[in-house]
C-alpha cells in the first residue's frame, strides 16, 4: 500500500469521504455544493479567505487547506491560528479539506518540525483532525456531530 492509499484507508475508517483529483479539477470543488453559508480559506489552491461571519447558528460548509496529512492515522493537520478559520472548522456542518499528495506524510513524527516551527513564536493553534465530531458517551453507540461537523471530506490534489 502506498502512502496515499494508506492515508485514505485510515481516513475512510472514520467515515470520511476521500477523493483524489488532478490540480486542474480544483474549480469543480468550489462549483459543487454551492451552499448558502460557505467559508473558504485555501490560498495555496487559489481560494482566498472569505469574510463570512460565523455565529452561533453555524455554517453549512467550510473548505480549508491542510498543511499536512498523516497516513498512519488518516489525520489532517491544519494551522488554525486564524480565529475565523478555527471557528468555521468547528461550526460547519460539513468540513472539506484540501491537501496536496506531496504533503501526505507517513508518521506522526513527520509533522514534529512543523509543530516546533509553528510553536516557536508568541502563539500557535494547530489542529489534528481525523473525521467528523463524534461521541460514544451514551451506551457506547457511535454518534456523529456532537459539537462540530457532521461530515468530512478530504480531497487529495495530485501534484507530482
Amino acid at each position: 500500500m502506498n502512502l496515499i492509499e494508506r492515508f485514505i484507508s485510515y481516513s475512510e475508517l472514520v467515515g470520511n469521504v476521500n477523493t483524489v483529483i488532478a490540480a486542474s479539477g480544483i474549480e469543480q470543488v468550489l462549483g459543487a455544493g454551492g451552499s448558502q453559508r460557505r467559508y473558504v480559506n485555501a490560498p495555496r489552491f487559489g481560494m482566498e479567505a472569505s469574510t463570512l461571519d460565523v455565529d452561533e447558528k453555524g455554517i453549512d460548509e467550510a473548505i480549508v487547506q491542510a498543511d499536512y496529512g498523516i497516513a498512519e492515522t488518516g489525520t489532517v493537520v491544519i494551522d488554525s491560528t486564524d480565529e475565523k478559520l478555527r471557528l468555521a472548522t468547528c461550526l460547519a456542518e460539513k468540513l472539506i479539506v484540501l491537501v496536496e499528495a506531496s504533503r501526505v506524510k507517513e508518521r506522526l513524527e513527520d509533522v514534529v518540525d512543523f509543530l516546533e516551527e509553528r510553536s516557536s513564536g508568541e502563539n500557535a493553534y494547530v489542529a489534528f483532525i481525523t473525521g467528523a465530531s463524534r461521541t460514544a458517551d451514551i451506551e457506547r453507540v457511535l454518534t456523529i456531530g456532537v459539537h462540530g461537523p457532521k461530515e468530512m471530506e478530504v480531497i487529495i490534489v495530485e501534484d507530482r
Binding site: 498512519e72 489525520t75 491560528t81 502563539n123 481525523t130 461521541t135 461537523p149
Partner: protein
C-alpha cells in the same frame, strides 16, 4: 470496609450495569487489538515509559522551560500547591472578568480538585461540554470511567435525566439526544466568559499543550471565550513533540480502540480572540501539585505519574467489570484510580478500595505507559498495612501461622482431623454450611499425609543425572493437593530429571505481601530461603503454584530489606524459577498416550502475566484437534486467594463468566496450572453440576506416557 461491602452489594445486584460493563469489556478487547494490529505494543509502551521517566529535578526543569516559553509572551503561570489553592486562583480570574458562565471540556484534574463545586459556591456557573460529563452534571452524578464518564447510564436513564432537566418529553433516541445537547450547549460557548480545559500533554520545549477529544468541545472552549484557563498536573509535561507523539500513538488506541481520536489540538499562549479587548486571548496555566512533586522523588510511586489517562486499566479489570467505577475507584477510576486515591486523596480513603484488586495483573499487562499498576497497588497495600494495620484475623494467620512452617503444619494436622464430619463422598472436598454469599465455593479437604510426607515415603531415585530441578511445593500442594506434587516428581523422574524438594514446606509469603503485612512476609521469605538449597546446584526451581512463582521472582529479593547475602541468593533463585510447561519445553520433554478426550486450558493470571508463561501452545501441540481454546483463557477465574473470602460476590461473578466459557468449549477436561484456579474452577463445576474434569497440568501429564527428553525444538 463494611461501608464498601454495602456499596459492592448494590452494584452486584444491578443487572443493567452488569450487562453494560460486560459488553463493553468484550467489545473493547476486540477494537483495542485491531487498533494495535501490526504495531509492537511492548516496544511502544517501553518508549512511553522511558520518555516520561523524570526525577523531581527534571520535572522542575521541564516546568521552568514551559513557563518561560509562555510567560515571555504574556501568559500567566500559576503553581497551585493543592486543590483549594487551584480553585481560588481560578475563581480569582473568573471574578476579575466578572464571569457568569464558564465552559469546560473534560478534565479529571478538575474532578480531583472539585472545581465545579468551588465555582458554583461563588456564583460562577460551570457548564460541562463533553456529552458524558454534561449528563452527569445535569443529574448531579459523577464519572464511573475516566474516558466514558457516563458508561453506567443507559439511553433510557439519560432520556429520563434530560426529560426532567429540560422540562419536556425527550425521545430516547441517542441521535436525537445528541442533537438536543448540540443545540443547547452551542449558546453557552458564545456567552461564556471563560473556557477551562485540561491538557493531555504539555510540551516543555515550546510551551504548547495538546488536548485530545472526539467531540470537538475543547476546540470551542478554547476558541470562543476571551479567557482560557488550563488546569494540569506536572505529570503532563513531556520534553518535546517527539515524546508527545509517542504518547499520542498509544493513547486513543488504548482508550477506545480508535487509531486516533478525532481532534488533537495543539495550543500555545495567547491566540487571536475577537472577544478580547486586545485582540488576543488571556491565557492562564494552573499547574497542580497536590503531592505530585514529592511523588516524582519517590523511587516507585513516581511510576504512577506516567499515566496518560487512557482509562484502559478499568476496561480490562475483571473486578471493575463486576462493580463499575463508582466503587472501583474514587475520583480517578480503575487500577490507577485505586493508586491515585491513595496519592491525591488520602491513604484513609484508599485503604479499603485497594483491597478490591485481584492482583491478576491484567492492568499492568495492558498499560500503554508500561506502569506495573498491580505492583504499585501491592506496595500501597503494604504502606496502608504499615499505617492502619491489617485485620486482626489476617494478622494472626500471616504472622503466627504462615510465616512459621511448624505451626502451619501442626494446625493443618488438626484441620485434617476436625474436617472429618464435613468430608464429601470423594474425601477430596468439604461440604461446609457456608452462608449463602460464600456458597459458590467448594473447598478442598486438608490432606494427611501431606506432599512432603508422601515424597519422603516414596523416596527419590538415586540415579545421578545431569539435569537437576528443585521443586517448591508451597502450601496449596503441601496440604490440599499433594498428588499434584507427586505427579510432577513422577513425570520428571521418568524423563530423567532429578527432583529435590525442601525438607519442610512453607508458605511463599505472597498472601502476607499482597495482604499488606510486610513483617510477616519478610519473615516467611527468610524461612523459605533457608530450605531452598544452593541455587548453583540446580537447572531450575519449579513451582506448580504460579503465585509462589511470582513471590519468588518478584517479591523475595525486594522484601528482604537488610540481609545482602540472602538477597543475592533470592536473586539467583528468582532467575531460575520456572513453570512446569516452560521447563518441559526447554528440555524437550514429550508425552504420548493422549486419550481421545478433548481438553481446554485456563491460563492462571500469575502464570501468564506473572511468570510470563502459558501451557497453551504446549498442550495445543500435544493434543492437536483435541485441544479446544478457551475464550478469555487469560482472564482471572476470580479466586485470588483470600479475595474469594473477602469479596465473595465479585469472586463468584467472575467465576460465573469463566464457567460460561468453559461450557462453550464442551471439553472433557479443563487443565490449568495453579492449585488456586483448580480449587475455584472445580467449585464452579460442582455448583453447576458440570461434568468436565478439572486437572492441574502436572496431574494431566502424569496420566500420559512420558517419552523422556527429546531434542529441543529448533
Amino acid at each position: 470496609m463494611k461501608e464498601l461491602k454495602g456499596r459492592i452489594e448494590v452494584k452486584l445486584s444491578d443487572r443493567i450495569l452488569y450487562a453494560t460493563l460486560r459488553n463493553f469489556a468484550a467489545s473493547y478487547k476486540v477494537s483495542r487489538q485491531n487498533a494495535f494490529e501490526g504495531l509492537d505494543f511492548d516496544a511502544l509502551r517501553r518508549d512511553v515509559n522511558a520518555s516520561k521517566d523524570f526525577s523531581r529535578e527534571e520535572v522542575e526543569d521541564l516546568f521552568q522551560q514551559f513557563k518561560e516559553n509562555v510567560e515571555r509572551y504574556g501568559s500567566h503561570v500559576y503553581r497551585a500547591k493543592d486543590g483549594a489553592d487551584a480553585n481560588s486562583y481560578i475563581l480569582k480570574v473568573c471574578k476579575t472578568h466578572g464571569a457568569k458562565y464558564l465552559v469546560k471540556s473534560k478534565s479529571m484534574t478538575s474532578e480531583e480538585i472539585k472545581l465545579n463545586a468551588a465555582l458554583e459556591a461563588e456564583g460562577v456557573k460551570p457548564v460541562e461540554t463533553d456529552l458524558g460529563e454534561y449528563i452527569l452534571q445535569v443529574s448531579k452524578d459523577h464519572p464511573s470511567h475516566m474516558v466514558m464518564p457516563a458508561i453506567h447510564q443507559t439511553r433510557g436513564q439519560v432520556c429520563d435525566i434530560f426529560t426532567q432537566h429540560f422540562g419536556k418529553d425527550i425521545c430516547p433516541d441517542i441521535g436525537d439526544m445528541v442533537e438536543l445537547v448540540r443545540h443547547h450547549l452551542r449558546g453557552y460557548y458564545f456567552k461564556a466568559d471563560v473556557g477551562v480545559t485540561g491538557a493531555n500533554l504539555a510540551v516543555a520545549s515550546t510551551g504548547t499543550i495538546g488536548i485530545v477529544t472526539n467531540e470537538g468541545n475543547a476546540r470551542l472552549c478554547t476558541t470562543l471565550p476571551p479567557v482560557h484557563i488550563v488546569l494540569l498536573g506536572y505529570e503532563k509535561l513531556v520534553r518535546n513533540f517527539e515524546d508527545a507523539m509517542k504518547v499520542l500513538r498509544v493513547l486513543s488506541k488504548s482508550a477506545t480502540g480508535q487509531i486516533s481520536s478525532t481532534y488533537v489540538t495543539w495550543i500555545k499562549g495567547r491566540n487571536p480572540s475577537g472577544k478580547s479587548e486586545k485582540g488576543l486571548k488571556e491565557t492562564h496555566y494552573v499547574f497542580l501539585d497536590n503531592g505530585r512533586l514529592d511523588y516524582f522523588a519517590h523511587h516507585t510511586l513516581k511510576e504512577a505519574l506516567k499515566c496518560i489517562r487512557c482509562g484502559s486499566c478499568a476496561n480490562i479489570c475483571p473486578a471493575y467489570e463486576m462493580i463499575g467505577g463508582h466503587v472501583f475507584g474514587n475520583i480517578y477510576i480503575g487500577a490507577i484510580g485505586l493508586i491515585y486515591t491513595a496519592l491525591f486523596q488520602s491513604e484513609e480513603a484508599a485503604k479499603d478500595i485497594l483491597q478490591l484488586c485481584l492482583s491478576c495483573k491484567a492492568c499492568s499487562h495492558n498499560c500503554p505507559a508500561g506502569i506495573d499498576l498491580q505492583q504499585l497497588i501491592a506496595e500501597l497495600k503494604l504502606l496502608a498495612g504499615d499505617r492502619f494495620g491489617i485485620s486482626p484475623l489476617k494478622k494472626t494467620v500471616y504472622s503466627g501461622v504462615m510465616s512459621n512452617p511448624g505451626v502451619f503444619r501442626a494446625l493443618m494436622g488438626i484441620g485434617s482431623v476436625v474436617q472429618k464430619p464435613f468430608l464429601d463422598k470423594d474425601a477430596n472436598h468439604l461440604k461446609l454450611p457456608f452462608p449463602q454469599k460464600h456458597d459458590f465455593f467448594v473447598p478442598p479437604s486438608v490432606k494427611r499425609p501431606t506432599f512432603t510426607d508422601l515424597a519422603e515415603k516414596r523416596g527419590a531415585t538415586t540415579k545421578e543425572t545431569e539435569t537437576r530441578a528443585f521443586f517448591y511445593p508451597g502450601c496449596a500442594v503441601e496440604y490440599f493437593y499433594p498428588n499434584m506434587g507427586i505427579a510432577l516428581v513422577d513425570l520428571l523422574e521418568k524423563a530423567g530429571v532429578r527432583v529435590d524438594i525442601p525438607p519442610i514446606s512453607s508458605c511463599c509469603g505472597l498472601p502476607a505481601a499482597f495482604g499488606g503485612d510486610r513483617p510477616s512476609a519478610e519473615k516467611t521469605i527468610q524461612t523459605n530461603l533457608a530450605f531452598m538449597g544452593n541455587p548453583d546446584d540446580y537447572d531450575a526451581y519449579l513451582v506448580l503454584c504460579p503465585s509462589c512463582g511470582v513471590a519468588i521472582i518478584q517479591q523475595f529479593e525486594s522484601l528482604l530489606r537488610e540481609d545482602q547475602s540472602l538477597r543475592v541468593k533470592a536473586r539467583k533463585i528468582a532467575s531460575k524459577t520456572k513453570s512446569l510447561s516452560s521447563f518441559l519445553e526447554e528440555k524437550g520433554i514429550k508425552f504420548s498416550g493422549v486419550a481421545n478426550k478433548t481438553v481446554t486450558y485456563h491460563t492462571p493470571c500469575h502464570l501468564g502475566r506473572g511468570m510470563k508463561s502459558t501451557a497453551e501452545p504446549y498442550l495445543s501441540e500435544l493434543l492437536g484437534k483435541n485441544f479446544i481454546p478457551l475464550t478469555d483463557t487469560d482472564v482471572c477465574c476470580g479466586f485470588a486467594g483470600s479475595y474469594s473470602v473477602d469479596f465473595p460476590g465479585i469472586s463468584s461473578g467472575i467465576l460465573g463468566k469463566k464457567m460460561e466459557h468453559v461450557r462453550e468449549t464442551g471439553a472433557d477436561i479443563v487443565v490449568t496450572d495453579c492449585p488456586g484456579c483448580v480449587m475455584q474452577i472445580e467449585s464452579g463445576m460442582v455448583k453447576r453440576s458440570l461434568s468436565a474434569q478439572v486437572m492441574h497440568l502436572s496431574d494431566y501429564l502424569a496420566s500420559l506416557e512420558t517419552l523422556g527428553a527429546m531434542e529441543p525444538a529448533p
